[in-house]
Structures are given as structure tokens and as C-alpha cells.
């Protein structure tokens, strides 16, 4: 099968997914940011007592907060999260994920289980890396660093 068929047939669970990190809405932003830094993850899902998603806090909101009012770092994350416009189930197709992310201009998307609880996060990077793997002969042979230049002539 080619790329076109695969992205329609393969589920999101085939992508490299990150474990979702959740936080209650009353947790101070500063603590949430410390968690993001520790696990090197760009987004945290804010959940209610039942574990259902209320919203998301991410790097973009962090930058906005630092620019507007850094003292807000001590306020509850629930006051500074953004809405989740859409979530996806892990059995949805990768094509659906790509379409959804581009349509809503999302950098992160929350993967939920059958009950709607967050299980994983995936983002544009995961999608990009998945797509790149389809072109090993074109892509993986490219130089990583700047153009190579040969210092001395080869041969006689």
C-alpha cells in the first residue's frame, strides 16, 4: 500500500504518541510549567474530578502570559487555559488527524479513550515524522549539517 492508502487505513495509535499529562484546574500555572519542563512536553491537559478534559495549557499560552503579566504564573491554570476545540479517539485514521489539525490550526491534539478521558497527546511533529518515514531513499540520505565542502582535491 502507498502513503495515501495507509494514512486513511492506519489508526492514530500507530503514531509516536506522548503520554498525556493532566492537571486539575486549581493548580498554579508555575507548577504546571515546572512539570512541562521536567517531562519536556509542550502542552498539559486540564481535567475535572472525573478526569474529563476541561482545556489545555501550552507553550503558546505561556509566552503570552510572560509577555502580558508574569505574575499570573501564580494563578490557577484553570483561569488561563484554552478550550479544546476537538479531541480524537486513538482508532481514528491518521488522515482524519491531519485534516483536523490543519483545519483548526492545532499544534497539539488530545487523544481520548472511549469514556473521553485523555490518554495521549500528539502533535504536528509526530505526523511529520510519520510522513517522512515513507521516503527513506529521498529524505534519510540528505546531509544534516551545512553543505559539505571538500577541503582538498581527491586523487592526483
Amino acid at each position: 500500500m502507498g502513503l495515501q492508502e495507509n494514512i486513511r487505513a492506519e489508526p492514530i495509535s500507530d503514531l509516536l504518541l506522548r503520554q498525556a499529562v493532566t492537571a486539575p484546574p486549581q493548580r498554579p500555572v508555575r507548577q504546571v510549567v515546572a512539570t512541562m519542563r521536567r517531562v519536556t512536553l509542550g502542552a498539559v491537559i486540564v481535567v475535572d474530578e472525573q478526569g474529563l478534559p476541561l482545556g489545555m495549557f501550552n507553550e503558546k499560552l505561556l509566552i503570552r502570559m510572560l509577555a502580558d503579566d508574569p505574575s499570573a504564573l501564580d494563578q490557577p491554570v484553570g483561569d488561563h487555559m484554552c478550550q479544546l476545540p476537538v479531541t480524537v479517539r486513538s482508532d481514528a485514521s491518521i488522515a482524519k488527524l491531519i485534516n483536523t489539525m490543519q483545519a483548526h490550526k492545532l499544534r497539539w491534539i488530545c487523544v481520548v479513550d472511549a469514556e473521553g478521558r485523555p490518554t495521549n497527546l500528539t502533535g504536528l511533529r509526530g505526523v511529520m515524522e510519520y510522513l517522512i518515514d515513507y521516503f527513506p531513499n529521498s529524505v534519510k540520505v540528505q546531509p544534516m549539517d551545512e553543505h559539505f565542502t571538500i577541503e582538498t582535491r581527491e586523487g592526483a
Partner: protein, 169 residues
């Protein structure tokens, strides 16, 4: 021996095209061709933002927030000397912003970013970004001057442009 030294008029029948057994690279589809043969400018790289290295961090974050961008390039004489991404802000700035807000951005930027030349092909952009080491790549012209920035969204949009319209059902 003497036969070989004798010059005679070349017979066109003897001539063998040195490229006669050259196989042009074959591509499975239009996307694979574009990855290898197009230039990196096939990936959208504008708009983008740049600041000089002496800009206070406070102003840089203001600019990133106002322009809603995930990364900003630090340039000197139009040449990229560093890059500051959302991830850099999370890792190096957020924990001590009060102390460093008025310091120049050069103190927290990632210096000497790997750049992509306009003459590189899209495949190189994908390889560097797919390595997981870099989230954004400054695009420069032959003189090394910044002409754009490429990130994951733009790469995904480029790849998507070459699919048949995707039906998700």
C-alpha cells in the same frame, strides 16, 4: 602496438554514448519527485520574524505573542545567528523570567542554528526536522541572508499539498 598508435578517422559506429546506460532516477509519485528535485522554497516559509541580538527578552516575547509565532530568528546583518523557539522559552526562560526579562535575547537563544539554503531540496528540510533535534529551520539565500522560516506546520502543509485530496472517512 603500432596499430594502436595509428590514427584513423573515427567511425561514428564506434562511438558509444557514455550516458547510454544512465538511468534517470525514477520516482514513485509526484511527491517523491518534488522532495528530490524541487527547491526548499516549495515549502512555504513566510511570514517570519527576526530581531537583533541585543533586543531585550521582554520585547521578544511581546513580539512572539503579538504575531502569534512559535519561533523567532535572531539576525545580525540579516544573517541568522540564533533562534528562540517556544521550547527554548519553556526550558530556559520560564523558570527565571523575572531576573532575565530585561537582558538581551542573545543570552537564551540557541546559537548557530542549522540553516536551510534556498537551493537545498525539500527532502533535506524533512531530514533535519525529522531528526527530532530542530523544530524550526531558518531558510537563507546564497549569501546566507534570512529569507524565511520553516516549521512542522509548513512542512506538513507541503506534504499535504501533494496528496490527493484526503478523504478522512
Amino acid at each position: 602496438m603500432s596499430d594502436r598508435r595509428t590514427r584513423r578517422k573515427p567511425d561514428p559506429e564506434d562511438f558509444q554514448d557514455p550516458l547510454s546506460d544512465y538511468d534517470r532516477p525514477g520516482f514513485a509519485d509526484e511527491l517523491e519527485r518534488s522532495l528530490s528535485e524541487d527547491s526548499a522554497t516549495a515549502i512555504e516559509s513566510r511570514p517570519f520574524s527576526q530581531v537583533p541580538p541585543g533586543t531585550p527578552l521582554r520585547d521578544v516575547l511581546r513580539k512572539m505573542a503579538d504575531e502569534d509565532i512559535a519561533c523567532i530568528v535572531i539576525t545580525e546583518n540579516e544573517r541568522p545567528i540564533g533562534i528562540l523557539s517556544e521550547r527554548d522559552v519553556l526550558k530556559r526562560v520560564a523558570g527565571r523570567y523575572d531576573k532575565i526579562a530585561d537582558q538581551p535575547v542573545s543570552g537564551v537563544m540557541t546559537p548557530d542554528p542549522v540553516v536551510l539554503y534556498e537551493t537545498d531540496n525539500p527532502a533535506r528540510a524533512l531530514n533535519v526536522m525529522g531528526s527530532g533535534l530542530f523544530r524550526h529551520l531558518p531558510l537563507v539565500d546564497a549569501d546566507g541572508k534570512l529569507v524565511g522560516v520553516i516549521g512542522a506546520r509548513r512542512v506538513t502543509a507541503y506534504l499535504q499539498k501533494h496528496f490527493d485530496p484526503i478523504s478522512a472517512d
